[in-house]
Symmetry: C2
Amino acid sequence: MATIGQIAAELGLSKSTVSRALRGIPSISQETIALVQEAAARLEYVPSVAAAGLSTGRNHAIGVIVPSLNRWFYSSVVSGIDRTLAELGYDVVLFDLDRSQAAGTRLFARSLLRRRVDAVIVVATVFTPEELAELALLDMPMISVGPPVSGIRNIGVNDAAVMTAATKHLIDLGHRAVGLVGGYDPESLTVIGASEREHAFTRTASAAGAVVEPTWMLSGGYRSGVAKQVVLQLYQGLTWPTGLVCASDEMAIGAMFAVQQAGLSVPHDVSIIGIDGHEYSADYDLTTCSQDVQEQGAAAARQVVAEVEGAPAPYAFEPAEFSLVVRGSTAPPRHSR
Amino acid sequence: MATIGQIAAELGLSKSTVSRALRGIPSISQETIALVQEAAARLEYVPSVAAAGLSTGRNHAIGVIVPSLNRWFYSSVVSGIDRTLAELGYDVVLFDLDRSQAAGTRLFARSLLRRRVDAVIVVATVFTPEELAELALLDMPMISVGPPVSGIRNIGVNDAAVMTAATKHLIDLGHRAVGLVGGYDPESLTVIGASEREHAFTRTASAAGAVVEPTWMLSGGYRSGVAKQVVLQLYQGLTWPTGLVCASDEMAIGAMFAVQQAGLSVPHDVSIIGIDGHEYSADYDLTTCSQDVQEQGAAAARQVVAEVEGAPAPYAFEPAEFSLVVRGSTAPPRHSR
DNA sequence: GTGAAAGCGCTAACAG
DNA sequence: CTGTTAGCGCTTTCAC
């Protein structure tokens, strides 16, 4: 493995000159740069982040904490982060909390605390107070993507606004019997923002004089399969809502499946609207409140890198945009046609 | 940020002693160890991987290359890897090739080539010859998970065997008109192993004297939505297979959706079997060839770490296990009941 | 058991 | 435009 010193020796230059040439620092002559680059290529020189990092205190790596990778939202955010960071010359050090959850403690601090990363991006994770304290101790730029995490600056949509828009869409179509497939899952810490959404739903529905039976407030744990089960049960009963708001598209697809399986049709008998703008939503002809999740990750990545490199850290960010995408899964209820 | 030197000064010891105490090296007295640990905690000492790595040449980090994170298989493998690596004290440096694909070139070599990682795990990725050459240059332990990648040792199921088992299940039930929803997607490099599976399907079906119409060989690109579309089209035609093998559970769920939507019922009219053992398969009552994907990732992680730490590198690994899980989505065809 | 000293590969003043 | 000199924080012989 060639080092900067070997290149220097080879060329009869000093290490500093080689270092500068390699990094394209102004004050080096074009010929020297060419010489150094040629030698570096020939010797198959590979820079060492460790050495550079030790010297500068910069690792050129960002820690990304996710509660799990098995949800579209999380993996999309990570994709956006990763792509952006790659362009900026940073690496992603991944911390999947799914793993440690089983073990009881989630020691994400582990290598964050080994100064491996320059900053942290948190993706929609619920932390315990102890964990939050630990994170605060880190004392490096930190941004969360998705629903707000207390004490951490946040990039994401306004949960209440999104839910309100989704609910309102059904109301506007004429639905007065509406249900919610929410995400709250007491078993896990992986879900946040659930109650804000729930409130927005009830508020919007009630304001329009709609009926919201408590039994129509379902919990799908943000998982398609679970949503399918609970919705199937609901529609095998005697009364059911003509409109269903789902807190994620994955759950909405499960719900559509269940409604079909119950022998009813979407949107003829039941209208279903999701939230997210999942990559599958178009194929499933699902009406949804779409947001650019990858871009949210990318924005967080850009911001965090800017701060690492000295930019000021704003106190808060504008809520991310979302838009209602009307497709075939929603329609006026039967009676009002 | 406290360093080893400050602890040493604080205690009137030498850096070496502190270093040894911190790492639990034998030749240090218990009292010294206790003293050092106490001081380390008090001063909020945090070791620096960069410094340690510079000194030892070990980064305690493993590079993980994935073609995308938005598929259950990939993210599950990564979860398995991450959990295991965390236990072993290693970090995951993620390389999502999705990102660079857009840009035309996929520069995964970037920091692999900066000696940031000690080894590489590749998850079901198709590489160009140039990329493979670049990888080979890396000269560090490397293992792939999933379908075999040429030139890289592989952990995964035998694709042909799995497909054969799945097809045979339908044949055994009496199906003689069978179709395949495969994954081949000429647009992307993200899918491998597709043709092996296709062959195994045709071979098994033909051997049983089953009809395999060319138009029943569909391509779902390993995506649920796409599978839903192509299957819907198939079942809106005049003739269709009574049995459908899907190369992934995600596609199988899409297929079930489509069949329902076409007004047919699963398994009464059409039997559907998937491959993977997706977390949703039970909820969707999907028959599948299940494999422990997380464990495959974990196994790769363990092996790669062992090799980094000096263990011998076997030439090849046993194929991973899989098992047929029969659920409600498959049944004998109608006529033979 | 513990210490002293050298060095891992790079960057960063400070000179010239 | 280039070289010299110190480190960054840790590990590791080699001594004692």
